[in-house]
Assembly symmetry: C2
Homo-oligomer: 251 residues x 2
């Protein structure tokens, strides 16, 4: 069974949702049969990126929130502290006081590269590394040198990463993920898609995610609706299409 998770690296609910999903998976009896793929969703494709070494004031994030929502700084601080508390219940140390503004298109390119190079496992490691870097460590994940260093820590090759970023090799793939999200009606993240059949919107609890896994698993058996073999066109030509199998061809 394939679970695709649309997510952004700078999205706090995505990090929380990742932990809840991991909990659900750890309780799921068919976990070994689940493949998790991370899909790109940029919350703000027009965001600028601050470079490594940018000084961050303790209230900068709260200030950004208050501007975004047209509320006072106090409300911004409140949101930060609520999100921090929620994250803490999932064992995540969210340090908004360190967070460095980042455009995430390059981070998503690196996450795509990881899938290509090392499959779901390497991709998961890179995704986790980047979330931790942004939310806990105050790393500038929009800075290419930083991204490269983090990607290497997670298991990618340094030259491979820099070539990808220099070429913009996966920009189209990132845009394709986003177009697909839009086609699926996804407007916010995290968003979990199970076998392209079930959708779970938001960082639902591990219980909810587990029940979605269970339900999707029960229906995972490929159930193709056969068409065309029963009735053919009036002239009968090709009504029963020829086929070849291990025992030969129907002629």
């Amino acid at each position: 069974m394939k679970v695709e998770i649309w997510s952004d690296v700078v999205c706090p609910w995505c990090y929380v949702g990742k932990r809840r999903f991991e909990q659900a998976l750890s309780r799921f009896e068919h976990a070994e049969g689940v493949e998790v793929v991370w899909r790109a969703f940029e919350l703000d494709p027009n965001s600028s990126s601050h470079p490594e070494g940018t000084e961050v004031g303790p209230d900068d994030y709260a200030q950004r929130l208050s501007t975004k929502y047209g509320a006072g700084l106090e409300r911004g601080r409140e949101m930060v502290s609520q999100m921090t508390a929620t994250a803490a219940t999932e064992g995540i140390d969210m340090r908004f006081d360190r967070a460095v503004k980042a455009n995430t298109v390059d981070a998503h390119q690196v996450i795509h590269l990881a899938l290509e190079r090392g499959g779901a496992q390497l991709q998961g490691a890179v995704k986790e590394r980047l979330l931790r870097a942004y939310f806990t460590e105050g790393e500038a994940v929009g800075d290419r040198a930083v991204l490269q260093r983090l990607a290497v820590e997670a298991g990618l090759d340094a030259e491979d990463v820099s070539a990808v970023l220099a070429e913009g090799r996966y920009v189209d793939a990132v845009r394709a993920d986003e177009a697909e999200a839009s086609a699926l009606g996804i407007t916010g993240v995290p968003f979990f898609v199970l076998d392209r059949k079930y959708g779970v919107s938001g960082a639902q609890s591990a219980d909810v995610l587990l029940s979605a896994l269970t339900q999707a698993w029960a229906e995972r058996a490929p159930q193709l609706v056969m068409t065309g073999s029963a009735a053919g066109p009036a002239d009968g030509k090709g009504a029963d299409g020829g086929a070849c199998g291990p025992d030969g061809c129907a002629v």
Copy 2:
């Protein structure tokens, strides 16, 4: 919409089915929205391969058929001539009198490589080149040097092809296609799978294939069943999962 076609390079009905599908597609008004991907299915994974230059007698294929079916040579010849006639109605010049026995695992590796390197278009070109080589031109498509030459003609890079074959880089991918076929209940080819929802078995007529395309297209809109958002667990925790979107995060 994605159409996956399980097929083998040495499968006469697959070649006929390819033409019928192409006709269906040429009459389908949303053809530009259809992506065709070729999947591997070896009719005989244990088949040996004859090298380039192998002399083929005009009755060799008929003889192989008669052995396979435990019938006389006459019946083998009859099958060959029926298949040849059917292929001719689709504009295919099937020359069984030239066909060189081939194991197709390497051909399928090259077809996988083509998808990776140049997407559906290059893959389609390589698939067509190999079918024509085997069925019309008497090429030894199980011979690596021959495969390489044909792949290059279709647009692949010579060194790329030889590296893939030397490493067996896509053998696992070929096996994965076959495992998937088995999971989908596919026992003979060609087999058309439309958006993993509809299945068409055999080289059905263009009319039948067109109606399958039309039906699958009408239902192509991604219809995710949303789960988990209505009712949460008893404690209410995470019943309504938080999410972030372009306008911010629900906190």
